[in-house]
């Protein structure tokens, strides 16, 4: 007969460890007693039997610890197995629930996918901009970029990350905060390769110390040493980038020691950087040369290392252990001030640096990514905001899914009550419901990653066009990690409210009541979620409206020139040994060819190009108070047809150009604003001014041109000086206007001009609209992304509102039937349902508007000509969401009016 098996009624209030010990001891004791009993039955005395039992068991002080260890191990294993089993059950249960209503599940997963996809995209972008350390750089957080702050002549502050070689050596030698320093310069239009294979690539000019900042042994060969990197002229050696080595040289290991033509000079290949090495840049660098070799060969100035006004390279540095960046700032400031004082002392004709000027002269050690330093781009600021916006979209998605899950939870209330009654613990129940939302989040996350990868590509290219995205893997580990975290967070956050809501329900009431009565009392939690959704949507819509208006204002701005269908041709003659006279002749021949080409309506030479190339100088006019007129005067030697080509109107007088004789009277056209500034009420035509110094020959004003937006869209001070190209020694490039799409003739144009250039010469063609694009980018970006995210939020909020109201109406069919039976009109019923939706939305809108009203202060600087508290933007946002709320409530409201009281009451 089987012994009676009963569950232990009481669980001892002991910890699991102690419990295992006691139980094991109990078991040993029982065994010894049983064995002794058995032995007594065979005729032994009690004493003998007990001794024999002990002997057979084994030395107790030895085997007891062994048994305890085995028992503990057993318990651990069993606990783990139990947890895994529970998880597997939960997963199975969750999947069954999801399969039961595939449409509903898909909607939830899609909602998550939109939110998670938006966040994965923005994370990837922000990570590139702000956080990702350069590959191979150990302890990258200690490495930073050096910025110098100094006053401009007009008193505003200038911040430079580009500094002279001389200043770099001074800062390097007169600071002790840094363990390593390096000078770096990346130039994206340098010609590498022999004759036919010559191409313009990105070239890195770096100091030998650059390599020691990385832990990146060369793929083959070696890097250059400090001995090969000494001013004035470093050794002509070159380290190839891995990509260039593979694609252009077939990854040939015998490349070491071979010559390579770099910007017209012969360099010897000494090594190849490892795969995936990009230095400190996001873009691909084809090759690296010693900065003193490249500086000597390519800057066109053999005294490049001795002059402060050649500001080109950047200084990066690694802090010594224990040194704070504040300490580094102080040292840099001291060294920079000393450097300025010394420079003024040795420069003939320059006045000493004033104490006021010195007081605002400072050095700054900032994080390596440009967009975390003092010169971060407006696009990066917009991107940061957009990341926040993406987070809001995700929150709305969470609220939405939570609300729908609660709605379904109410429907499942009886089922859950049954499970509780059957003894399923509430903890297990919550775990089950959480598993469900996490599973949905995982599905949504997978979908979101796909969305981010395929759909986010466009956004990435718009946001960061300068980054080479070609090496972005589909499964970037950082993005995956982030997405996983977001998925888990989302799943738990979303599941918590429905789980608590479901479990809190009163078991008895649920079991007794029919399903019908379940939804009678509307949940405050659900209304709260709706309010939050509406509020967040308003915030996003206000942002979208503000950026759309900014973009609109930018686009209707009169630039004073017409950027569409303009091409700029740059003739790169560095390293060709061409002199000024020859250069002028080449330029003329190129211009003739360009003008003769079909598809070119007009062309001219020019030097300064809006938003791209600025040549500025001081301007002096007789009787003019110089301090009052400190401005940036843009000097632009232009050819005939310049004004017609650019689309700049000549307001009065005549144009200047190459028809003006070289030795004729010096003439100039100036912008309207410049005439007003210099000669107040007087007529500028016939007046005279000097360029560069007040001893320079006088230029007579012969014409007035309309003002041009040149360097900044918001900049109202338009000081332009146009000189005849013939009367200037500086040659620039060619600008031309096309009747059709300028991109179509860019390549033919290049082929036409290229043969005119000697040897290493190189012609590059660029549409000017693309130059402007980068200026307008922040608003276009803000407008596009805020609108996308705003629309997404609106859609989610509408679906959420519709879902909740439709569900409520379905639950209250009987009530509606009673109302109709008691004489309520369709209009009354409609008003009742509509009012419910509008009340919730209106509360959310009010809250959202308040939040937006406070928050817009922070985006004000990113807007263009749009007040942050723009009533139109706020009105549009509030109006849109209220309209959407009415529409979302209208459908359930119509259904409510169609209730047949007889049917509704009979279903009882």
């Amino acid at each position: 007969m089987l012994p009676p098996r009963i569950r232990r009624a009481l669980r001892l209030p002991l910890g699991p460890r102690r419990r295992v010990e006691t139980e094991t001891d109990d078991e040993i004791r029982f065994h010894l007693a049983a064995r002794a009993d058995a032995l007594v039955a065979t005729g032994l005395t009690r004493e003998e039997a007990e001794a024999e039992a002990l002997r057979r068991f084994g030395a107790l002080d030895e085997v007891r610890p062994q048994l305890l260890a085995a028992a503990k191990h057993r318990e651990e294993r069993l606990t783990m197995i139990k947890r895994l089993d529970a998880l597997r059950d939960d997963l199975r249960y969750a999947l069954r629930q999801l399969r039961r209503s595939p449409g509903f599940s898909a909607a939830l997963a899609l909602t998550f996918a939109l939110g998670i996809g938006a966040n994965a995209t923005m994370f990837e972008i922000l990570d590139r901009l702000l956080f990702r350390p350069p590959a191979f750089m150990p302890d990258a957080s200690r490495v930073g970029r050096v910025y110098l702050r100094s006053p401009r002549r007009d008193g505003t502050e200038r911040i430079d990350n580009n500094i002279s070689y001389l200043r770099y050596t001074e800062l390097r030698d007169h600071t002790r905060a840094f363990a390593q320093t390096a000078a770096v310069y990346q130039d994206d239009q340098r010609v590498i390769g022999m004759s036919n294979a010559a191409e313009a690539v990105s070239l890195g000019l770096v100091s030998a110390s650059f390599w020691s900042m990385f832990d990146a042994p060369p793929a083959i060969g070696r890097y250059f040493t400090a001995d090969e990197d000494r001013p004035p002229r470093g050794t002509n050696v070159v380290v190839l980038g891995y990509g260039y080595w593979q694609s252009r040289l077939g990854g040939d290991p015998k490349v070491i020691g071979r010559p390579l033509r770099v910007e017209g000079k012969m360099y010897t290949v000494i090594g190849v950087a490892p795969k995936g090495f990009h230095g400190i840049w996001a873009t691909v660098t084809a090759a690296y040369v010693p900065i003193t070799a490249g500086g000597f060969d390519m800057l066109g100035n053999e005294r490049y290392h001795l002059e402060h006004n050649m500001m080109w390279l950047e200084m990066i540095a690694r802090l010594k252990p224990g040194v704070t960046s504040e300490a580094a700032n102080a040292e840099l400031t001291r060294a920079f001030r000393q450097s300025r004082v010394d420079a003024a002392a040795v420069t003939s004709g320059s006045s000493p640096v004033t104490p006021q000027s010195l007081a605002v002269t400072r050095g700054e050690f900032a994080p390596l990514p440009m967009d975390r330093g003092p010169k971060r781009s407006a696009s990066a600021k917009v991107a940061t905001w957009l990341a926040g916006v993406a987070a809001i979209v995700l929150l709305i998605a969470c609220a939405n899914v939570a609300n729908l899950l609660i709605a379904r939870g109410i429907r499942r209330r009886r089922e859950i009550a049954v499970r509780v009654a059957l003894g399923v613990g509430r903890g297990r129940l919550v775990a089950q419901l959480l598993t469900e939302s996490v599973v949905i989040a995982v599905l949504g996350g997978g979908l979101g990653l796909a969305l981010a990868h395929w759909g986010g590509g466009a956004i990435r290219r718009v946001l960061l066009p300068d980054v080479d995205w070609s090496f972005v893997p589909i499964f970037d580990p950082r993005v995956m990690l982030f997405t996983t975290a977001v998925v888990l967070f989302t799943g738990f956050l979303t599941g918590l409210a429905p789980a608590v809501h479901a479990v809190r329900a009163d078991v008895n009431a649920s079991l007794k009541a029919g399903e019908r009565e379940g939804g009678g009392n509307r949940s405050r939690l659900r209304s709260g979620l709706l309010v939050a959704q509406a509020a967040l949507s308003v915030v996003l819509l206000v942002g979208a409206a503000l950026f759309v208006r900014s973009l609109h204002n930018v686009q209707k701005l009169d630039l004073g020139w017409d950027p569409d269908r303009l091409l700029h041709v740059r003739l790169e003659l560095r390293g060709t040994g061409v002199t000024g006279e020859q250069e002028r002749a080449i330029m003329q021949r190129a211009l003739d060819r360009v003008r003769a080409m079909p598809g070119v309506s007009s062309a001219s030479t020019l030097v300064s190009v809006p938003f791209w190339i600025t040549w500025s100088d001081d301007v002096f006019a007789p009787g003019m108070d110089s301090s009052e007129h400190q401005r940036t005067y843009v000097i632009n030697p232009v050819g005939d047809d310049y004004f017609r080509t650019m689309g700049t109107r000549l307001l009065r007088g005549r144009a200047v150009g190459s028809s003006d004789p070289r030795d004729g009277p010096k003439v100039a056209v100036i912008s309207e604003a410049m005439g007003k500034l210099l000669w107040k009420g007087m007529d500028p035509i016939g007046q005279c001014f000097r360029i560069g110094a007040d001893t320079a020959p006088c230029n007579e004003v012969v014409g007035i041109a309309e003002n041009m937006k040149f360097g900044e869209l918001g900049d109202d001070e338009s000081m332009q000086v146009y000189l005849p190209a013939t009367q200037s020694r500086t040659t620039g490039g060619i600008v031309l206007r096309t009747p059709g799409d300028p991109r179509a003739i860019a390549q033919p144009l290049r082929r036409e001009v290229q043969p005119l250039l000697p040897g290493m010469g190189y012609a590059s063609v660029k549409p000017l609209a693309s130059v402007l694009d980068s200026v307008v980018r922040q608003w276009r970006l803000g407008a596009t992304m805020f609108t996308i995210f705003g629309a997404l939020a609106l859609l989610l909020a509408a679906v959420g509102l519709y879902g909740v109201i439709a569900y409520d109406v379905a639950q209250r069919m009987r009530e509606m039937g009673v109302r109709v039976a008691l004489g309520a009109q369709a209009a009354d019923i409609r008003r009742l349902v509509l009012w419910q939706g509008i009340r919730v939305t209106a509360l959310g809108v009010t809250l959202g508007a308040i939040v937006a009203f406070v928050a817009v202060r922070y985006v004000e600087k990113l807007l263009f000509d749009t007040p942050a508290h723009d009533p139109v933007a706020f009105g549009a946002a509030v109006g849109t969401i209220l309209l959407v709320a009415v529409v979302a409530s209208l459908i359930p409201a119509r259904r409510a009016t169609r209730v047949d009281p007889v049917v509704a009451l009979r279903t009882e």
Partner: protein, 112 residues
């Protein structure tokens, strides 16, 4: 009578599983069951049996539950699971094959 044989670790596990096919038992019952069938030929240290039981339990070949004996004493009762039955089948087959093979070789007649 010859010396009792030492039982190998894995072998004890199979014996325990076999014992439990007769129904749930506590530790001493299992010992007694095996001893009754070994008729003094196997030398089993009692603590080794418990090591075996805990091992089997950890891999869910057997389940354990506290119960009360006929003498009203609290004891831990073990029962075999489906995992344990499968293990017993496999191990028995393996053991038989092993024993047959070794026996066959050892009983090969001496060459004339």
């Amino acid at each position: 009578m010859s010396e009792p044989l030492t039982v190998l670790r894995g072998t004890l596990d199979v014996l325990v599983l076999k014992a439990l096919t007769w129904g749930p038992m506590h530790g001493f019952e299992i010992t007694a069951w095996i001893e009754g069938r070994a008729t003094g030929n196997l030398d089993i240290i009692d603590s080794a049996l418990y090591q075996s039981l805990y091992r089997l339990e950890a891999r869910r070949a057997i389940n354990a539950d506290w119960g009360v004996t006929e003498n009203n004493r609290r004891a831990r009762y073990y029962s075999i699971t489906s995992v344990g039955r499968a293990e017993l089948r496999n191990e028995t087959a393996r053991w038989n094959r092993y024993a047959e093979t070794v026996t066959g070789i050892l009983n090969t007649p001496q060459p004339a």
